[in-house]
Symmetry: D3
Subunit: 198 residues, 6 copies
Amino acid sequence: MGPLQDICVAIDDHKSETAVFVNGKFCKDLKYAEAKDFFFSGLQNPGNTDNRVGSNVTTVNVDQIPSLNTLSISLARIDYALYGQNSSHTHPRGTEILVVVDGSLLVGFVTSNTENRLFTKVLNKGDVFVFPIGLIHFQFNVGHSNALAFAALSSQNAGVITIADTVFGSDPSINPDFLAKAFQLDKNIVEDLQKKFE
Amino acid sequence: MGPLQDICVAIDDHKSETAVFVNGKFCKDLKYAEAKDFFFSGLQNPGNTDNRVGSNVTTVNVDQIPSLNTLSISLARIDYALYGQNSSHTHPRGTEILVVVDGSLLVGFVTSNTENRLFTKVLNKGDVFVFPIGLIHFQFNVGHSNALAFAALSSQNAGVITIADTVFGSDPSINPDFLAKAFQLDKNIVEDLQKKFE
Amino acid sequence: MGPLQDICVAIDDHKSETAVFVNGKFCKDLKYAEAKDFFFSGLQNPGNTDNRVGSNVTTVNVDQIPSLNTLSISLARIDYALYGQNSSHTHPRGTEILVVVDGSLLVGFVTSNTENRLFTKVLNKGDVFVFPIGLIHFQFNVGHSNALAFAALSSQNAGVITIADTVFGSDPSINPDFLAKAFQLDKNIVEDLQKKFE
Amino acid sequence: MGPLQDICVAIDDHKSETAVFVNGKFCKDLKYAEAKDFFFSGLQNPGNTDNRVGSNVTTVNVDQIPSLNTLSISLARIDYALYGQNSSHTHPRGTEILVVVDGSLLVGFVTSNTENRLFTKVLNKGDVFVFPIGLIHFQFNVGHSNALAFAALSSQNAGVITIADTVFGSDPSINPDFLAKAFQLDKNIVEDLQKKFE
Amino acid sequence: MGPLQDICVAIDDHKSETAVFVNGKFCKDLKYAEAKDFFFSGLQNPGNTDNRVGSNVTTVNVDQIPSLNTLSISLARIDYALYGQNSSHTHPRGTEILVVVDGSLLVGFVTSNTENRLFTKVLNKGDVFVFPIGLIHFQFNVGHSNALAFAALSSQNAGVITIADTVFGSDPSINPDFLAKAFQLDKNIVEDLQKKFE
Amino acid sequence: MGPLQDICVAIDDHKSETAVFVNGKFCKDLKYAEAKDFFFSGLQNPGNTDNRVGSNVTTVNVDQIPSLNTLSISLARIDYALYGQNSSHTHPRGTEILVVVDGSLLVGFVTSNTENRLFTKVLNKGDVFVFPIGLIHFQFNVGHSNALAFAALSSQNAGVITIADTVFGSDPSINPDFLAKAFQLDKNIVEDLQKKFE
């Protein structure tokens, strides 16, 4: 139904054992809303890309800006180290539109069965690309320096499902026999992956 | 906006080179609508599970029943051979509710980052389970015979993204160096997988 | 807006006099969610059809599976005794898709004014039929044995309005003079019906 | 998704045998839109209530005002003769809000199973009442003169299902044996009703 | 998602300092719902038009009729004194459909950039006009007497943004230098306006 | 209903006099979709701010990236000259989230009647702010150099209504007597404004 009032700033006063929640978030009394509820500071700072995949996503969604509650949009800064990648993932609740601010990225997404068609493109500074809701997509730094992009998503909380982490690193683990058959891998390779992504 | 008339039976008369489409489907003149536009026959027949994963999904969505156009629901019959599985996949546009008609299934889904929590359960005849929209989920036949389930999805065309096929079998292929880094696999294993899922 | 988080398992801790509610249901803290919140057992059992119309609907909606909250789908098992019927009714909040598991059903629905056109068909095992949202529809057992169907609905709580019970059995009763005029029945027949449906 | 442009004025240029339709209506080129596409004249005139139920609904929806396409609202003028009624009906795609302009109406609606609770009230000039989407409702003229109301509905084409006409007057007829059992009426009474509502 | 139950009557029992809110309103226990929750009395009375613009809007939305919660519709009575106007305004969350009950109105709306096209028409008794969601629109009394209209809006709480009051009368004020540049007015005229609309 | 297929790339082949449209856009056959349908190049270039208000918006919506059709998001680059402003405006179909890339902006929005409360803040590089759907908002360059921001909107075609241009520069003009009364300006000032915004 979209928003049913001008603003509905999310509030988190449910800390007790009996906490209840709603779809989205509870919101605070309008009379206590302030400009800072609509504000976030920090996207000027590069994220720390010193990790396995060499990328970092700084998310600005309803958890960072409470006024995004009910408003169907959020933002992210993505930093890529040299050779870094934002590995294959989906957003279960949002389409993404990305603009490159610095560097060069190879980006792509794959359509659903039975086509599984890959759409891919190299993006440079000022280029924009769209990743439709729910489809698996990725970005790779293919330039000669760090890269930087901003991305917007069509949900206050689009969610991220990184494929490798979710399949091989779930808590608890999925039965390795099953994964071995699904991915056509030896069971010992699957078990090795499960240790790495633990 | 949901449906804007009683019925809007999908029609496929756009076969020419200049074909155009809409979100969902065009629909035919109500005066030509017939009971058979609301009908599908065939779910009494087991699907052919003689394939790599030992399962088969018979989908009944807007492509099979044209009157499902605009109505936000569809159905499927799923057959599982002994040891068969419906491998890790997501539906980008639908939640699934599944009822077991015969046999025993181990089912599960994994929440998004950063929890990646696995919810899992063994289902027997008459048991029902829910897989929320966009999340990775699976079913494994853990009984001593073939298994059979019906599943409903909250979209006229929920889509299916089988993870292994999409990541390793996209057309064209994703760069194996990138996948090797993302999945922490040797590049030659990735290339081998890409041949298997081709 | 659809779901705004992976899962929002319904919770019922509002038992006091001052209870408040929301559109749909409150949900519990994600950290207390369990696999059984996504699970229901019992659809293997026939419902009791020993009633006036000779049918029984076992509903599996958000009241039975709390995780259906926000997810726009639900399920039902429908049993039909010999000559049994699921009488004329509407679902104010959902389209229905039905698959016959055993037996033979004559099914139908009627479009809105001014056409009031009846779409009808005999279904056998494995046949599927669609009843569009809000339209009056029915199923009759026209086979030589009990019949069984599963039905899915495009809402977590689609609602059921059985026409005869609602019009003649409301609490309190609708003025019989008015109903007599509307249905072109003698007032004493209306009053008799109101006793039967009380 | 709501409207995706300022205006999308419905157009009807699909008169041929090969006509196709969409959810809602096709719209014309914005440059040909005119003020009269947003306009309807005629609600100053009483409708003809010289019929069986003594009421008349003049509908102003997307068929009368083409610019209502995509905009989720419509209007109606309802005239009631002395003792007239707008018999039990539902709107499958809209909530109704009604204001009495002249006279006195007894209005009501019934909730769904299993409560089937009747909410009812007498309305006088200037009184407003709400009938929630999909629920069976009615208005009876209980004053000493003609009555007049305006009603708005939350859809460009909310639909009307008059219960008696739909159940007993569908085209073709529903099997009278089935209706007799459902409504606990003698079969000959049902057949008599079917002739009256034909 | 639209309503997820038959009715969800808004309730206001959050008076304390720690009050929390939701998108729309909390609703009360269905068992305490009464016919008067669906009812409003007062639209028979003219509003007081003795103000600067010579018009008055009596709103009947979810604040007046609590059962409108989740139901996407509301109503208003608009009175116009001789030469009165309902000045340029938008409804951020609703399309409006208006019917003239008495008098003559010049009405209009303007499309968005870059066209800014004015659609305008003189309406007399019984005429209906549509103002699409979010667009700036107005009504002027151009007849020789008071005028009266009813309007329905496609939201339980459509909101009203009166342009002059919002731009020149916000609390606190917008910097007059900025407004002077935007509106191409002398700064002293802007400051004068800001005093008038304070 | 959101997207009903993976992708629905907008197509413009309706050039003839008899052109028809739909809510959103027609889309092309999936088999002709290409990576460039998801791509836009040009946001590296500053827009031309040599105009009356000293700002420029480069929009990237469904008209620039056809694959945005059905996907509920779009992007913009906004350049501000020294002392430049993006004057008071609304987006009738979208919430905006803005990130400052260079410079300092004073931003604000005003809530609807009857509060008309101004929320305002000075933003520097890396700061983010939210402007809720349909509310009047603005940005002013208050730094010592040009400023640059990216903004995302929650619609494929959010629309822009610049208040001054729409009220005083509509085509044709709104009656100056009416505007004079509404804005409490002398009629000759209104007529002067109408010439300036023509």
